[in-house]
């Protein structure tokens, strides 16, 4: 809008700035909407893959519906609903959210990291979780559990080492006696224990 409104002045710098700010504003406004659109697209993709996979199973006739019928119905409904959500996302820009993202958006990498600072810890945690699950088979359940509890406690914000270690030892022992000794659940064992 501002492009049309601004007269062609001799000061090109101002104009470039103007254009840039419009682009930025536009992209910021669309940041959350874009994410919403992406989430709907992911859902549609999920539904389509599910339906394609479902085609493997027989549908049979109405009088005796096969195992493929119910998944076909719910899968198709999911795709329709997600497509509806997609049209809503495309049609409805959300001004308040765009404003909020306006405050938070920056262009440099540092600002990007600053903006998504909250995401770092959960992502690290997911990584730790995956390493832990891979470790269980080799090191054994209780030892990896012990290490996992310490590391997750540190990740969540423990400053010292003593607290997390004591906590983890306590939890591990408690779990050992409750689940393994009393409830007779057998957990995977590793090289050490």
């Amino acid at each position: 809008m501002r492009i049309r409104g601004s007269p062609l002045s001799s000061w090109r710098g101002a104009q470039i700035y103007n254009v840039l700010s419009i682009c930025k504003e536009f992209s910021e406004k669309n940041l959350t909407i874009r994410k919403e659109i992406a989430s709907s697209l992911v859902l549609i993709l999920f539904g389509v893959v599910f339906l394609l996979y479902d085609l493997k199973y027989p549908l049979d006739q109405w009088a005796n519906p096969g195992p493929g019928v119910f998944p076909l119905m719910v899968g198709a409904l999911l795709v329709i609903l997600a497509a509806w959500q997609l049209t809503q996302d495309v049609r409805k820009p959300k001004p308040e959210e765009a404003k909020e993202s306006h405050e938070r958006t920056g262009s440099s990498i540092r600002e990007f990291l600053q903006r998504n600072k909250g995401e770092v810890k959960p992502i690290l945690m997911m990584g730790v979780f995956i390493v832990y699950l891979l470790m269980v088979k080799w090191v054994g359940f209780f030892i990896s559990n012990f290490l996992f509890a310490i590391i997750s406690s540190k990740l969540i914000g423990a400053r010292d080492w003593g607290g997390p270690i004591a906590l983890s030892a306590g939890v591990s022992l408690f779990c050992y006696f409750l689940f393994e000794v009393w409830l007779k659940l057998s957990f995977p064992r590793g090289v050490l224990f």
């Binding site: 994410k35 919403e36 989430s39 859902l43 999920f46 599910f50 996979y53 199973y57 006739q61 109405w62 009088a63 005796n64 519906p65 096969g66 195992p67 019928v69 119910f70 998944p71 719910v74 899968g75 409904l77 999911l78 609903l81 509806w84 959500q85 809503q88 909250g118 995401e119 810890k121 959960p122 945690m125 997911m126 979780f129 995956i130 699950l133 269980v136 088979k137 359940f141 559990n145 996992f148 509890a149 310490i150 997750s152 406690s153 969540i156 914000g157 423990a158 607290g163 997390p164 906590l167 939890v171 779990c175 409750l178 689940f179 009393w182 409830l183 659940l185 057998s186 957990f187 995977p188």
Partner: protein
């Protein structure tokens, strides 16, 4: 019949194992209610493997104890710290915390506990009358009726949960799709297991719930980074509400009990909806309307009674029809199935011990909770100050053990992690995990009843609405579909008219 029921149910509950289970469940439930970050659904899912050792009656009594215990605990932190322990206590923060700041924290806590007790007991009495009645009439239900009921559940639940109806429905469909994983309920064909041996039995219910409600919550809390909470002190002396406060609370408690119970029968996050509805009602009828939000005791008494009554009401469709319409009752159903018990119209006939045991535990549990909560409220409130850095690792480890212990394989733990990450991302986009869990549980019932109906009617689709009962239920489904749109249309008309008149 009902009198006999009360006696037999209490006799079952006071057996030592069951009594112990009820007590442990009530304490865990209160703790879960107090602690933000771990809701009743996740806690129940975590405890299911533990209950398998206790046998079905005691196991289910413990799970039920967690369920209603959390309703009590939730109010404590709402009042003292302004942090609701679970969604059903969000409204209580409005007037409860305001009362606490005026120095009436003790009275607010006591009224919340007393209201919860009265409403809880009221809803059990009603449950005791209605559940067998409904179960008896449900014996006449054929597969077509069950199919409509599940459809009704899906529609009503999506109307009531979350911010967006479409998103709730999407989650519901995802749950129904996941329910198709494993052996097909009629033909026995293996579906969507991708060659994984562990997926043959279907998606592990415990792994999915602990992931969606436990791991996802821990990840969200890590992203939030909240500061330490400030706790308002409670003196023991202040615990007694004065006469005026008692008098002002009586009617809201009574209204909240009835309203909550009725809302509990509907599909959806009944306890939360009931609390909000009761708050709205009290504000409308109160003589002290201007006090609301500034510490009106009615704003604590009504909603806290309503959410407990709703928790009891929600047990009726579960016990008599076998259909859970809330995430917590869905987990309870999951627990029952793992214990080899199928809730539904036949439960009362086949396993009266389980049925009456659970009902009786409601009476006993309510009493225990009242006794536990009044003097110990200060101690429970202090637990909220346990730092997340100590609490969250415990939650994670328990989630892992819960998911692993269900079937004893690591595959389920991977499923749990996947569900946790998915749940974390879903929350960011306002997709609620609750409808997904309900969909997962309703899925097999829905599929089986649909296919059976078609087999019975020889492929004639009109078999789905042939009986008068089905027709009535379909018209309710239709109404539930149209009503929100009509309301929106009417509202916009009214707004447009008022704008015009202003101009």
């Amino acid at each position: 019949m009902a009198g006999h029921g009360i006696i037999s149910s209490l006799l079952i509950t006071i057996q030592p194992v069951n009594f112990f289970a009820c007590f442990v469940g009530a304490v865990i439930g209160t703790l879960v209610g107090v602690l933000p970050g771990l809701g009743p659904a996740a806690a129940m899912a975590l405890v299911i493997p533990l209950t398998l050792k206790l046998g079905p009656t005691a196991g289910l009594i413990m799970l039920a104890g967690i369920y209603y215990g959390s309703m009590y605990g939730g109010s404590t932190t709402s009042i003292l710290v302004n942090v609701p322990g679970e969604p059903a206590s969000v409204v209580t923060t409005l007037d409860g915390y305001a009362m606490a700041r005026k120095g009436r924290a003790g009275a607010a806590l006591a009224i919340a506990a007393i209201g919860s007790f009265i409403a809880g007991t009221f809803s059990v009495i009603a449950l005791q009358f209605f559940a067998p009645l409904l179960a008896r009439s449900a014996l006449a239900f054929g597969p077509a009726e069950y199919f409509v009921l599940t459809v009704l559940g899906v529609i009503l639940l999506s109307n009531l949960t979350g911010k967006s109806r479409v998103k709730s429905l999407i989650m519901m469909m995802t749950g129904l799709m996941l329910s198709a994983v494993g052996i097909d309920p009629i033909g026995g064909l293996e579906r969507f297991s991708f060659g994984f041996e562990s997926a043959q039995g279907g998606v592990s219910f415990i792994a999915l719930t602990t992931g969606l409600f436990g791991v996802a919550e821990v990840l969200s809390i890590m992203a939030e980074r909240k500061g330490p909470v400030e706790l308002l002190p409670v003196k023991f002396r202040e615990l007694y509400p004065n006469r005026e406060e008692m008098k002002r609370s009586a009617a809201p408690i009574a209204r909240g009990s009835v309203l909550g119970f009725l809302i509990g029968l509907l599909p959806g996050p009944a306890a939360t909806v009931a609390a909000f509805a009761s708050y709205g009602l009290e504000r409308r009828v109160s003589k002290h309307r201007d006090e609301f939000g500034k510490g009106a005791i009615e704003g604590v008494a009504g909603p806290e009674s309503a959410n407990n009554a709703a928790a009891g009401g929600a047990m009726i469709p579960l016990l008599s029809l076998g259909l859970p319409f809330t995430p917590s009752t869905a987990v309870l159903l999951g627990g029952m199935l793992l214990h080899g018990i199928t809730p539904g119209p036949l439960l009362l006939r086949d396993r009266p011990d389980v049925f009456w045991g659970v009902v009786g535990s409601f009476y006993l549990g309510n009493m225990m909770l009242l006794i536990l909560n009044l003097p110990l409220v200060g101690i429970f409130a202090k637990i909220v100050r346990v730092a997340p850095k100590y609490l969250m690792p415990i939650v994670l480890v328990l989630c892992v053990i819960g998911a692993y212990g269900d079937n004893g394989n690591l595959f389920d733990v991977w499923v749990m992690l996947g569900a946790g990450i998915a749940g974390y991302v879903m929350r960011k986009y306002n997709y609620e995990p609750a409808p997904l869990v309900v969909g997962l549980v309703l899925g097999p019932v829905m599929e089986r009843s649909l296919r059976q109906t078609l087999i019975i009617s020889r492929g004639n689709i009109s078999g789905l609405w042939d009986s008068p009962l089905c027709l009535i239920m379909w018209s309710i489904v239709l109404l539930a579909c149209i009503l929100p749109f009509m309301m929106r249309y009417l509202r916009s008309r009214v707004e447009a008219r008022s704008k015009k008149s202003r101009v």
